[in-house]
Amino acid sequence: MSAATNHAATASAPAHGGRASRPQRLRDGAAAPLLAALGLAAFWLFPDDLGLMTRILTAALYVLSLDLVLGYAGIATLGQAAMFGTGAYAAGIAAVHLVADPLVLLAVGGVAGGLIALATGTLILRGRGLTLLMLTIAVAQIVQEVANKARDLTGGSDGLSGIDPGPLLGLFRFDMYGRTSYLFALAVLLAGFLVARRIVRSPFGLACRGVREDPVRVAALGGSPKRLLVAMYAVAGVFAGVAGALSAVTSGIVGLDSLGFSWSAEALVMLVLGGTGRLWGAILGTVAFMTVHHLLAATDPFHWMLFIGLFLMGTVLFLPGGLASLADRFTRGDRP
């Protein structure tokens, strides 16, 4: 038997393969308006932290893309940064040489992320478990090396700087206080969330979830599990690419770290922390992880790893299913 087969996410995601329960549907319906309201509230409450919050929103979109791959298609990957970074570099290079419109740049990033996911997904998605994990790592490492070598285009290890996007819609300039950046990122995340929800509820999304739970049955019913997975991988690549482009536009710089292994691993940590397979778990996990990271790093930059490590272990031991499962218990009235 093959040793390292995995059915990622089956453990931590609750079994909600069929119809969603009523409270869950209510919660899902409330998620988008709630996100918008909280995002705007944060804008007024923490006007000095817009830089950090913009990065959180960008990361949330990126983790959301990982949820599509992992939570809905069961593909365990440690290489999602390949798509994020490709989108970021594509948008950055376009901004330096070709166009300045931020919306066009997002589109460029999305297309680039989708294409790289499509190309590599076809190659690697025949593996499972540890093999797949290694393949995703290897692909991301190679993409990172390409970016490192193409110094003339990417700036190599110095980073790609000089990205100066034009005003949003021709009206709102990206200034150093980050107001435009923040609201733009919030709008993009909201749009991404709504589109992602459409996708996972579509027949295509449901079929992918079917593959995750029982590939043999999907094949028996005449579907092609591999083709479905590659398609979902590419779709998620578009999301990650847009997130990368958003990062390039709002920060004005792209570095090799945006393609790095630790950025991939962090995405996984944030997602599992929040809870896989529910989209808003991705957002919750990102906000929690990055806020905790920020606060701990600010008070004791030397040993934040200790706290974040304990935090992660605590989540696994006492909160399997991630932070989102807290909300499940709450709405269902279960006792922990």
């Binding site: 040793a3 996410a9 393949l135 490492q141 190679i142 599992v272 490590g309 696994v316």
Partner: protein, 289 residues
């Protein structure tokens, strides 16, 4: 010719270190189905213990090595009981990744707190310093020693798994855990023993390999991808597979750096992709031994 021989010797020595550390990961992944990302952290802990024993306490190399392996095994056994036992089994893969990453972070922070962020060395004893003439090439004595220990480890593991009662039960449990339990094999104790074996091997590799994989707090995170690559290529739970994979990757990496140093990383990862594409389940399809 001399160059070819040189690459082969360097590659094999590098591969042996990868093998000694990775085979422990392979065994625990094969039996308990646990993706233990803290494996590299265990190797690192042993390295630091040995470094402290040799430099701080002035113990001889052999004693530092033995002490470090023993102490690491003893120190990690409670972890097996308290943490790992909850996450055995393939259904828990994500929980495993998260828990062991968390554990790795804690260990990294702890090592950083105790020993500081600077490099630590394990001073080599007199006989292991210097070089050894091996045909046309002079190789560091330490590397020759590492190769010898690697070969001994392969033989010892083979003997352990094929010729002892423990090995028979272990292989039975890997092939069919339920059946093994039904036959009265006490899987709990077996798991603990296997975990100790895996940690011990990591510790051994961590100490021996300190010259090639230098000891610093980020060791635990820096090299784990390398160890996972060996296990993926070799097939989880396969000793012969791990050996073949570690040697192949060691030689490929060495040759790549020699021939095209500017594209060394490409070469390594491209080979990895090709191998995994051709043998998605690893060289030996993952069985114990």
């Amino acid at each position: 010719m001399e160059t070819l021989f040189g690459i082969a010797v360097d590659g094999v020595a590098y591969g042996m270190i990868l093998f000694i550390i990775s085979v422990g990961l392979s065994v625990t992944l094969g039996l308990m189905r646990v993706v233990n990302l803290a494996h590299g952290a265990f190797a690192m802990v042993a390295g630091y213990v040995a470094s402290f024993a040799a430099q701080g306490l002035g113990l001889p190399y052999a004693a530092a090595l033995a002490g470090a392996v023993l102490l690491t095994v003893v120190a990690t056994l409670p972890l097996e009981r308290l943490l790992y036992r909850r996450i055995y089994g393939q259904a828990n893969e994500l929980a495993q990744v998260l828990l062991t990453i968390g554990l790795t972070f804690v260990i990294v922070a702890g090592i950083n707190y105790l020993f500081g962020p600077t490099l630590k060395r394990i001073p080599l004893p007199e006989p292991l310093q210097g070089t050894l003439a091996l045909g046309p090439k002079a190789i560091p004595t330490h590397r020759a020693f590492v190769i010898a220990v690697g070969v001994a480890t392969i033989l010892a593991l083979w003997w352990l798994l094929e010729r002892t009662d423990f090995g028979i039960r272990l292989r039975a449990a890997v092939d069919d855990p339920d059946m093994a339990a039904a036959l009265g094999i006490r899987t709990e104790r077996l798991y603990a023993a296997t975990f100790a074996l895996g940690t011990g091997l990591a510790a051994l590799g961590g100490v021996l390999g300190a010259e090639l994989l230098p000891l610093e707090p980020y060791y635990a995170i820096r090299y784990i991808v390398l160890f996972l690559a060996v296990v993926a290529v070799g097939g989880a739970g396969s000793i012969a597979g791990s050996a073949a994979a570690a040697l192949a990757l060691g030689v490929v990496d060495t040759a790549g750096k020699y021939l095209i140093p500017n594209f060394g990383e490409f070469f390594f990862y491209a080979t990895l992709i090709l191998i995994l594409f051709r043998w998605p389940h690893g060289f030996f399809r993952g069985r114990a031994a």
